[in-house]
Amino acid sequence: MATATATTVSPYNEVRSDLWRPLSGASPRYLAILAGLAAIVLWGAFAWSYQLLHGIGVAGIRRPVFWGFYLIDFVFWIGISHAGTLISAILRLTDAGWRKPVTRAAEAITVFALMIGGMFPIIHLGRAWLFYWLFPYPNSRLLWPNFRSPLVWDVTAISTYLTGSAIYLFLPLIPDVAQLAKHATGWRRFVYRKLSLGWTGSDREWNALEHAMKLMACIILAVAVSVHTVVAWDFSMSVAPMWHSTIFGPYFVVGAIFSGIAALLIAMAIIRRAMHLEKYLTPHHFNNLSKLLLLMSLLWLYFTVSENLTAWYGNEPKEMNVFGAQLRGSFAPYFWAMVFCNFVVPFILLGIKKLRTIKTAIIASITVLIGMWLERFLIIIPTLSFGRLSSTWGNYAPSWVEISITVATFAAMIALYLIFAKLFPIIAVWEFEQE
């Protein structure tokens, strides 16, 4: 990959027309893809409705494995959500110039991934209509809102992160929608005008935006780290084999950023190709993100080795049952596939400079996403399958309902992203002009 310098910035009108071009019209190909994705999402909605009608028993979760695909997907999507806001906030605070075409694409991933991830605990509840019982408010229903439960911590952490990420995405969108409102017609003009909140481009507005974005970047960094730490605590606060670990918090955060960067690379490559934004999303951006992905791959390996080596050295019988199942037992194919996807592929494709291209970055990113999903699977299922009492050991096989809902969420993510990219400039026009 050529380590080109940052993008040569085109004159104002050219930048704007380039970045606004994808917003106008919808090609038959775009509509066909959207229709296909909508069909998958509808199938997922049907599967969920089936579960609501017939009860949680239609899912594959059984004692002792009472956390299955839903919780794997929950942790996976919350991890993906770390793509955007965290990366965008770090790059914004360090004033990295190359971040400009990347940030909005990343922030949008965060919001959509959180929306999807946040749904899974509700799906997992079975009786989804009682989800509001998770909100801790005084006990009018004679229920005890257990603030000591990490699951209640999850509700507060994810609500905060979703609120913060949505605001963090929306604020820098205001100047762009204000400009769009001036030039758009029909319903778009109405929507953009409402969303622009009466933005005029005065220096008071710009100053306030700059201050707010700097503060939000600091806050969102602290929240993002805490969110995945809290998700890790769902596991590590229980005294279950291979879960009760002090490094689970940072291990989850590293894994989340790792999968987040992979998702961002894939999204950027699709945007670049589909919207002809080669001039703005240059090999330079892919090269920088590929290096970050490689760094996270090495960090992930470090944490994985550290976690497993400690368990092996301790030789605690209950932990060794799970450890053995993962490394050489029934879960070994998944474990070694995870290592191959998360370390071997990125290390070879991105570590060797000559091999590092946009195409190999995408291949590595896809394998990382597969690997990280497998990692979440391996954290949850083996521990529950091989509990402390051998008489309670059991297996887990996902049902068609769980598989359908999982696939549908991937389709939903892509569909939401496509719709967003059709409605709003996926690269902040005003940030580009600023150069």
Partner: protein, 156 residues
Amino acid sequence: MHLTREFSDRKSLIHALRDLQEMGVTPKDLDIFSTEPLELPQSALARPSHMSLAVVTGAISFGLCVIGFVYYAQHSYPIITGGMPIFSFWATGVVFYELTMLGSILMSLLWFLKESGLFKSKPPAPSYSDGSICLRVECSQEQEPSIRKLLEAHSK
């Protein structure tokens, strides 16, 4: 009354701003419009912001409300805890932390809306060509000729 003038570069705008303030025009009476953020030296146009202070205050207030709420919620049910404390500060710590951060996020948004004046009633923004900078000065009838002259001199 308002006077507006377009500037094609930042330098002449800065000179105009300095001269205007020397003439007695306050920053409150000045508005600069542009399609991109302008980085101006503090000496040219001071716009002090209290957002950081507001956000910290908001976060602390929200956090204290959360502690109070959680304490109240846990005490409002007569649960038998076998001598364990009914309100566990450390276990509530995560909820406290997250909602304190939520307080700071919401305060950032509110203070942004306040400082930007987005919801305030204000005179309509002047129309100006894309990519240029527009300066609007609020002045009295008496000041008008001298300010107009100054603006014309700087925007040439």
